[in-house]
């Protein structure tokens, strides 16, 4: 558990350093995630320790987000007159983008579904 957690922290430090040194406009923790993902792709396996630690952290994501998230209710005047815009963007925007995604995937997926049939005729 601690071993996996340490590896995660090392990748975070790596990401943070890369962000600081190169001014890449991606935050250090996200860069750390991308670097770890690239490393896993190269190695083609995850150690059980790393998997265990990542599961433990990810299982608690909602809890970890609460302190920042409730700040939403204390934004006060900063958000005056903007809630309608925010809620419409979430509601309408998400519905339209989901519908378009479904449409796009439906259009493109049949090609894949035919593959087994082709195999059968060969």
């Amino acid at each position: 558990m601690i071993r996996g957690f340490t590896q995660i922290l090392l990748f975070w430090i790596l990401g943070e350093s890369l962000h600081f040194l190169t001014a890449i406009p991606i935050s250090g923790n996200v860069l750390g995630m991308l670097l770890l993902f690239a490393w896993l792709l190269l190695r083609q396996q995850v150690s059980p320790e790393l998997e265990q630690s990542s599961q433990a952290l990810i299982a608690q994501l909602s809890l970890l987000l609460l302190p920042g998230g409730v700040g939403l209710f204390f934004l006060g005047e900063r958000m005056q007159g903007q809630w309608l815009a925010v809620l419409s963007a979430i509601g309408i925007g998400t519905l339209i983008s989901m519908a378009l995604c479904i449409l796009l995937m439906q259009r493109l997926t049949p090609a894949e579904a035919k593959a087994p049939a082709n195999k059968g005729s060969n």
Binding site: M33, S54, G68
Partner: protein, 238 residues
Amino acid sequence: MPRLNALLEHLLQTPLLPVAMTLIAFQLGVQLFNRLNRPAWLPPIVSGGLILVTLLTLLPIDYSQYYAGAKWLSFLLGPATVALAIPLFLQFHRIRALLLPISLCLLLGAPLAAGLAMLIAWGLGADPGTLISIAPKSVTAPIAVSLAELLGGIGSLAVGIVALTGVVGSLFAPLLCRWMGCNDERILGFVMGLNGHGIATASAFEISPTAGAFSSLAMGLTGAYTALFLPLLLPLLF
């Protein structure tokens, strides 16, 4: 009474009270979620958040005092974000099953989700800080917070927007899919993860393991991809 106030001040000098309050509120939220048969419209982050806000309003504690202690929990979002690489890696092989639809839907769908929401909010008069906080709405929250703060948005607002987007995605993706005559669970899962990140992924797993797996894949890909294109594109708009 002055002694009670002094006690409160004493308890706020370390992260003890804020951290305990957060844990209590969250567990009450989880209990409520389980008692109501795990409704998609009230995930623990929403119910727990509302309980925490109620606690903070009832007690004479400022949000800034609370956050000074509770930020120790937020610190763990750093490693939790890095850890997202592992489920992404574990689901990555599924991309082969539907390589073309997945990559095209991701390439177009993720910027679409961000762009449409920003366009609607802009039309209704949102200011730049709010627009930036809306942009990562379909991305898993830890990445969304990093993105919003990096680009000049508001982290708290981004968390709230992301949570609500997840609820909308969980509730409406299955309805929309049925209505559009799509009965492929891989598509449903992928669309849920792309638009509604972790919250919709949790619901997708309740639909079926296939939907859940494709939703996790979509969540990971959307997070990684949005983290790459948003910082490059967004500065062009403001």
